[in-house]
Symmetry: C3
Subunit: 267 residues, 3 copies
């Protein structure tokens, strides 16, 4: 079944802007700036609070938590585990971004530890999702060698295994809980040339989970936001530098009519 707009997306986009959810994001050094600006642009309130001295305490206050392992080190991992544990304990949605999980043994161990605290959503590229699904090494960094469509079946199985929603971003974005699957089309070829847009997608999923209990609908809304803003930004940019700037402008300008232009296939 295909639809030009999902029923829940416009109300989720509006709810993020109306409620301005506090999103705690423990993320890598590369993405701090753009992810915070992406959250601000859609009306959420970003808080980068990572140290174990406060990350658990803060997670109990936050409306949603994101955990991104892009530039891990022991104190950060400890802080991530504290935040994930606290979020799980109090029932706050949290989203895992397993950056380059297949690249080193250190990252595989970190992801295994974090999965014990039951993420609401796992968001990665195809290589990362396949690496978790197969528990095998693969991928060479944040860029994806596999396509997201290759990963659809693996994502469905992983979602059932983890009892979580799995999001695979790429040329098309896949959202699945193992039973329901949505494919979000759109975006722009410059998106992979801008660093940390994957990390920013994770932040948007967290923001949408803060205002919508159905994590499939929340993740679809987040992917639609990026796809629609990305298409519009691509139409007025001259390259990846101006694309990133225009993307923030377009995220801030998202409304019902613009969001309704998204193409989403559901099955």
């Amino acid at each position: 079944m295909s639809s030009t707009v999902t029923s829940a997306t416009p109300s989720i986009v509006a709810a993020v802007r109306a409620q301005s959810p506090l999103v705690q994001y423990l993320t890598n050094f590369v993405s701090m700036d753009v992810a915070a600006n992406v959250l601000n642009a859609v009306g959420a309130s970003p808080a980068m609070v990572h140290d174990p001295h406060e990350s658990g305490e803060f997670a109990r206050l936050a409306s949603a938590v994101g955990v991104n392992i892009g530039t891990p080190s022991p104190p950060w991992v400890e802080g991530m585990i504290e935040a994930a544990r606290a979020a799980h304990e109090v029932g706050t949605p949290w989203v895992l971004d397993p950056v380059a999980v297949g690249a080193t043994s250190y990252r595989r161990r970190i992801v295994a530890q974090l999965l014990e605290h039951r993420p609401t959503v796992v968001r990665g590229n195809a290589s990362e999702i396949l690496a978790i699904a197969t528990s095998q090494a693969g991928g060479r960094g944040v860029d994806s060698d596999a396509s997201s469509s290759d990963a659809v079946e693996a994502a469905r199985e992983l979602a059932r295994d983890l009892q979580a929603v799995v999001v695979v971003t790429g040329v098309e974005d896949v959202v699945t809980d193992g039973a329901r699957t949505a494919i979000v089309h759109g975006g722009h070829p410059w998106m992979p040339m801008v660093t940390a847009l994957g990390c920013s997608a994770t932040a948007l999923v967290a923001a949408c989970c803060a205002v919508e209990e159905d994590a499939v609908e929340a993740a679809v809304a987040a992917m639609v936001m990026l796809s629609v803003a990305g298409e519009r930004a691509g139409a007025r940019a001259a390259g990846p530098g101006s694309f990133r700037v225009a993307l923030l402008d377009e995220l801030a300008a998202l409304d019902d009519v613009r969001v309704a232009s998204a193409r989403v296939d559901r099955s």
Copy 2:
């Protein structure tokens, strides 16, 4: 008493550009990039030197020091204390930015430790200044729930208590040493949608303190820089992404005539 321009502001703006003061800024991971670019744009020379192995040594060379607790962790706090101690010892002005001090007990302890080293200026939003003034928890992150005008009286008292200049940024920016108070108008509604502009304001206060001994005048000049550049940037931007880019262009283009358009009320 209201004036369209303060007497000292144009000469402070010119002095920053002429002297290119070396500003050491120990700041959070989110603001590193934009704060360094803001300092560069006005002609200052940024240096992000944070580790306790060198932060005190470097503070003795710097013309001013900024300390921002946005993403704290124990080694960073140690480096901040070393820098603050060194700055105070050699009489170098230093500026404290108590990001989200009300949000966690860890931040309250850090700010209490840093205040022992007698900052020249404390710059925060209304929630942060009120949290210090009342030593009570409050605020939920870097966004301010309280308005800056609510905080004027608290800021005056805090300035007298600390024997420091207190700056409260918001829709209007308040600068006070407890006796003199200045209100700087201007800026643009997109400013709170761009991350780390508060952190950048702190950096500009430090840069101005490096060239002007009267910290009230230095802080007013810094607020005028941001307000005037922000108004001009808002007039040619399409959203928060292009606003941030235009803000850097406008900061780099500030001159006597442009600075003279600022509205400052003094009492």
Copy 3:
């Protein structure tokens, strides 16, 4: 001998885009974002992997490694040494960026340790290169007080001492292995007003070394990329903010014809 284009540059620029080399860059917090975007813009694949738990393992997978000491602390230095050691052991080119080496004793010790692992290229501004060459304190941060032409002779000697290629960036960029020397002209006066473009130059040298064994030619190609993109960006920017955005667009649009406009003197 002067030439409007070096023979190897166009093929190196094309090879980076065709091969998309994986460039591990252990860099400072200020430059993470822009350096990653610069690498993406020219077609390379950035990976910011710094912790000693994985930096050596990852360096064995990478096509080139960059090490930048801009915001050092003990765990980062340990990770840098692991990466440099691994790169040297497996014969992967690695590039050292000795940010502000003259400013503190801590930085001088770090650079001395890293030099033991034999960098392929050392890239700095004139003050930094002179500080290493003379092993004396000097310079006050990332800004250069000395001009790059002052540093040419020192760079030649240092290159012979280290058996490495030395790159001195400034108004003109100098590339030398002690025998051959190339001077790359171009760029734009706004380049020093944009933070982390030196760090990004180091990243580009690493990317070019990944596809070209002759490190002099690799470094010249990297400097040509920045010079040509910088000149073109300057022609359409309104200040340092829009210059940085335009620079990324222009790096992504580099081709044979544009690269051929570079002015390079060789001796």
